[in-house]
Amino acid sequence: MSYTLQFGQVWPYLPYLAGGALVSLWLAFLAFMGGMVIGLLGAMGKTFGPPWLRSLIQGYVVFLTNTPQLVQIYFLYFALPDTGILLSSYQAVLVGMTLNAGAYLTEIQRAGFLSVRREELEAAETLGMSRLQSVRYVILPHIMRILFPPLSNQYILMTLGSSMAAIFGVEELTGRAFNVNAQTFRSIEVFSVTAGLYILLTLIASTLLALVGRQLFRARMRIV
């Protein structure tokens, strides 16, 4: 063990790496929002749709949640060009993450749907609430209270998962770490600084999400 750690060469790259952290957050955010839309449609289809739609959605969810996201993106990136669909690496990663998130978020949101009881809707109707009012005052607060913790958890997991974008050459936090590593050859230092940035990033994100969840939705969430 004759290796001396020298962080001196890595520090100048800190702003560059921190910029990559923002790219990671943004990538995860875009994929999460896309996944939320897919998940909402999927959950509605699976709860209220006709049988063929249900089994179609079920097939999508089962297949996407039982195969690795990395290989799904490989498929999008390398196999789709054969059919004439050419995705840039950023697009392929984004589409792959969105589709993958859509499958998980379908399941999460469906659980939220199922948690609303018929009695609550009947009670809202008895109180003379309109459809819109019962969605606004009964269903949404209830669903968000239950859904917010697993949703924010999923967002954090997706921020970590976005690191695989580096494999396709997207310059987010891990991708930039690869670049800095190639320039300085200070591998251990670069990747420990990167790891530290990820810890900081997710700590800030999960603390903010927990605060929002507790304030807005009275969700039971632990801060850190």
Binding site: M1, S2, Y3, V62, F63, T65, N66, T67, P68, Q69, L70, V71, Q72, Y74, F75, F78, A79, P81, D82, T83, L160, G161, S162, S163, M164, A166, I167, T174, A177, S187, I188, F191, S192, T194, A195, Y198, I199, T202, L203
Partner: protein, 231 residues
């Protein structure tokens, strides 16, 4: 794309490629299995250490806390790279497969520790107090009172984490570990069309993961009613 895939299929599913794919499947399975077993045991140990009380055990408790909170927040790819370079710089010449195993175990034990901690916390505080009143020690309380009730809460999420985990091992291909995704890259480089190769790899992962998912769902359904009663 389809015509080309059908044309290539006989060559792709040749004897040696099938053996190659089978070995890759075995690699993925071994990587996940070792990670599950070591991660399960170490994670349990970490959770037990975190539940201890008193000043004497503060340093190990803090160490466990830091370990768990850190490794749950570092992406697997970064952990993998870090382990890889640490082993390289330390001059420890072990096969790459075992480097991947080490990083897999690090991540698994951190996540399992958090799941086990949730399970231990799910047992009501009164039970801990009652055990203490009967002069049971910490380990005895765990063995006779807490774990018999907590395992039903721990097992389903731990199982679904392990299934999640099989898919995470795909990242080990990045340091050159012989597993399914790596095999896919090799076969793709050999000239087989990406659709055929990665389609088959996706299917193989599915074959590995889907039965376990079903098993997990059945287990959860069976354990759920009894879970409500003890709560």
């Amino acid at each position: 794309m389809l015509a080309r895939m059908i044309e290539e299929a006989p060559a792709f599913f040749g004897y040696y490629n099938l053996i190659f794919l089978f070995q890759a499947l075995l690699g993925t399975f071994l990587l996940s299995a070792v990670g599950c077993i070591v991660g399960g045991l170490a994670g349990f140990g970490l959770a037990v250490v975190r539940r201890t009380e008193g000043l004497g055990l503060l340093p190990p408790r803090l160490a466990a806390l830091l370990f768990v909170e850190a490794f749950r927040r570092i992406p697997f790819l970064v952990t993998l790279m870090l382990t890889f370079f640490v082993f390289q710089m330390a001059g420890i010449g072990i096969p790459i497969f075992w480097i991947a195993v080490v990083s897999v175990c690090l991540i698994a034990s951190a996540f399992i520790a958090e799941i086990v901690r949730g399970g231990l916390d799910s047992v009501h505080q009164n039970q801990w107090d009652a055990a203490a009143a009967m002069n049971m020690g910490y380990l005895m309380t765990l063995r006779l009172v807490i774990v018999p009730q907590a395992w039903k809460v721990i097992l389903p999420p731990a199982f679904s984490f392990f299934i999640l985990f099989i898919k995470d091992t795909a990242l080990a291909s990045q340091i050159g570990v012989m597993e399914l995704t790596y095999a896919g890259k090799v076969l793709n480089n050999k000239g087989f069309s990406a659709g055929l190769v990665f389609g088959s790899i996706l299917l193989l992962y599915f074959v590995l993961s889907y039965p376990l998912t079903r098993l997990g769902a059945r287990m959860e359904a069976r354990l759920a009613p009894s879970r409500d009663r003890t709560a």
